[in-house]
């Protein structure tokens, strides 16, 4: 019953879940969900660049997202605007510019729905390679900066005082965020990527007592969401990206049942 495209979709989705799990935990801990959203919106611009100059989509999205992240950091330093206003500014203006550019590229037929919500069933073998190789690199780098990133998430000054260089860890993490969006855009689409990062991590928070445990459950949650979502999509002919996110939400709701046990949550 597994057509070839379905196996490819599974492989791509599983690869993405391994990466979004740990990164998603940091997105939740560091309150970066809107930051993730902004990078994801800017990905549309990256996609249009890829079509215009015939680049690889993942590579182009990575570059554009990283540039947007750098612009954000500069704006944060140079203006007095609050962070969420800057994020909104960048998210919507890059989305708008992306859409304008698409208008100019009238000779190419864009699958806008696929871009926004993902088209995992059109994943190629090359895409899978990018996801797995890129994902492995992301995880190795995250492992290397883990200690200093985590320590500075708990307390910046402690990390700085005890020689862990939190600013460097933050900069590297920003690049990793751009990279994870680049490799997962084809699977869940730019409007749903942040969901893939946050929902499994939020689910994991409800049932975890230690950071390592939360990362573990977040990965498991992501994997289950992908498998569950894809089978639902095959069974009911629903779009794959939204099905995966809906599956993640379903797991999150299940995790609420366990929240009252001793997970360190006070309520």
């Amino acid at each position: 019953m597994f057509d070839d495209f379905f196996i490819r979709a599974l492989f791509a989705g599983i690869g993405v879940a391994f990466v979004t799990g740990p990164l998603g935990c940091f997105v939740v801990w560091r309150r970066l969900s809107y930051f993730g959203d902004t990078l994801a919106h800017s990905a549309l611009l990256g996609v249009t660049m890829a079509y215009s100059f015939e680049f690889n989509i993942a590579f182009s999205v990575f570059i554009i997202s990283a540039v947007i992240a750098l612009i954000l950091i500069q704006l944060q330093k140079k203006t007095n605007l609050p962070g969420d206003a800057l994020l909104g500014l960048l998210a919507h203006s890059s989305l708008a510019i992306g859409l304008v550019v698409i208008g100019f590229l009238s000779f190419i037929r864009f699958d806008i729905m696929g871009l926004l919500f993902g088209d995992i069933l059109a994943v190629t073998v090359d895409d899978i390679l990018i996801i797995w190789i890129g994902g492995a690199i992301i995880l190795v780098v995250l492992k290397l900066i883990w200690k200093s990133l985590f320590a500075s998430t708990v307390n910046y000054e402690l990390a700085e005082a005890e020689g862990l260089n939190p600013d460097r860890a933050k900069a590297i993490f920003t690049i990793l965020m751009a990279a994870v969006i680049a490799i997962s855009i084809k699977m869940v689409g730019l409007l749903l990527i942040t969901g893939m990062l946050i929902i499994p991590a939020a689910m994991a928070r409800n049932i975890s007592t230690s950071p390592q445990q939360m990362v573990f459950y977040s990965v498991i949650g992501g994997l289950l969401s992908v498998v569950l979502g894809l089978f639902t999509s095959l069974e009911f002919n629903s779009s794959s990206g939204p099905s995966i996110i809906a599956a993640a939400l379903f797991l999150f709701i299940l995790s609420l049942l366990k929240i009252k046990q001793s997970t360190g949550l006070k309520n």
Binding site: V28, W29, R31, K147, F150, A151, T153, V154, N155, E157, L158, A159, E160, A161, E162, G163, L164, R205, S208, T209, S210, P211, Q212, Q213, M214, S262, T263, G264, L265, K266
Partner: protein, 248 residues
């Protein structure tokens, strides 16, 4: 005075300004191995700022700071743990350094919170958390300890015990300690060198020198210079942290 290679951190005329206002300026001090330097002064006098200058947290400073060690343990004045982080005492102990299980247990026992090892950090009381913070800072056997009001929220008998522990650590590990405290009478007796701050260095020297200094009296009042000795009274039993009573 010991020789120069005992110096762990040295501030030369250091200051830090925020929005063109000096939080503290013209601070010169040095912390040497095995010695306790205490910063005292009223609220807003720049004690924590001075500690952060010494630690290298503030980078754009006036004057100079020279740090001769990377093995630093820090107890910040304020730290709030976000509930989004599932983190137990044990995880917290491993925050900045990979220390062994034995080292964790030893440090937690010294500060009397070994029974909290697997508890969630968010569920600790203020005093318990303070003991965990101190345990974390000493567990990695640092050369330099910077303690910013390390016993805030700790009960009175615990406070004296912790100050004695801090003094013992300075001797045993031969580490230098930069201590910030409000408790004049407790602190002064355990200190080698006192720096009295009020936006700048008012006076500094041995505890008794400082206590008789007129600027110190002006800042803290006549009464403060009399309460130099440690407040001592003896119980015939102690309460362990598990709630048992132990006869001396």
């Amino acid at each position: 005075m010991s020789s120069n290679n005992n110096i762990l951190v040295k501030l030369k005329n250091a200051g830090y300004q925020l929005n063109n206002r000096f939080l503290v300026e013209g601070v010169s001090l040095e912390v040497q191995k095995g010695r306790i330097v205490t910063l005292i002064g009223p609220n807003g006098s720049g004690k924590s700022t001075t500690a952060k200058i010494a630690l290298g947290i503030y980078k754009k400073i006036d004057g100079e700071v020279e740090k001769y060690t990377d093995k630093v343990g820090y107890v910040p004045q304020k730290i709030s743990i976000d509930w989004t982080l599932p983190i137990r005492v044990n995880d917290f102990m491993l925050l900045t350094d990979d220390i062994s299980e034995d080292q964790i247990n030893e440090a937690l026992s010294l500060t009397g919170v070994i029974h909290l090892k697997n508890k969630s950090l968010g569920n600790l009381s203020g005093g318990e958390f303070q003991r965990v913070l101190l345990a974390r800072a000493i567990s990695k056997k640092p050369e330099l300890l910077v303690l910013d009001e390390p016993v805030q929220g700790v009960d009175f008998t615990g406070e004296i015990a912790l100050y004695q522990l801090i003094k013992k650590i300075a001797e045993e590990l031969n580490c230098g300690i930069l201590l910030i405290s409000h408790d004049l009478h407790t602190v002064m007796s355990a200190t080698d060198h006192v720096v009295c701050l009020n936006g700048h260095v008012c006076c500094s020297g041995s505890p008794s020198d400082v206590a008789h200094n007129h600027e110190y009296k002006a800042l803290f009042g006549e009464q403060a210079s009399k309460t130099l000795t440690i407040y001592e009274h003896k119980h015939d039993h102690v309460h362990t942290n598990e709630g048992d009573i132990k006869k001396n």
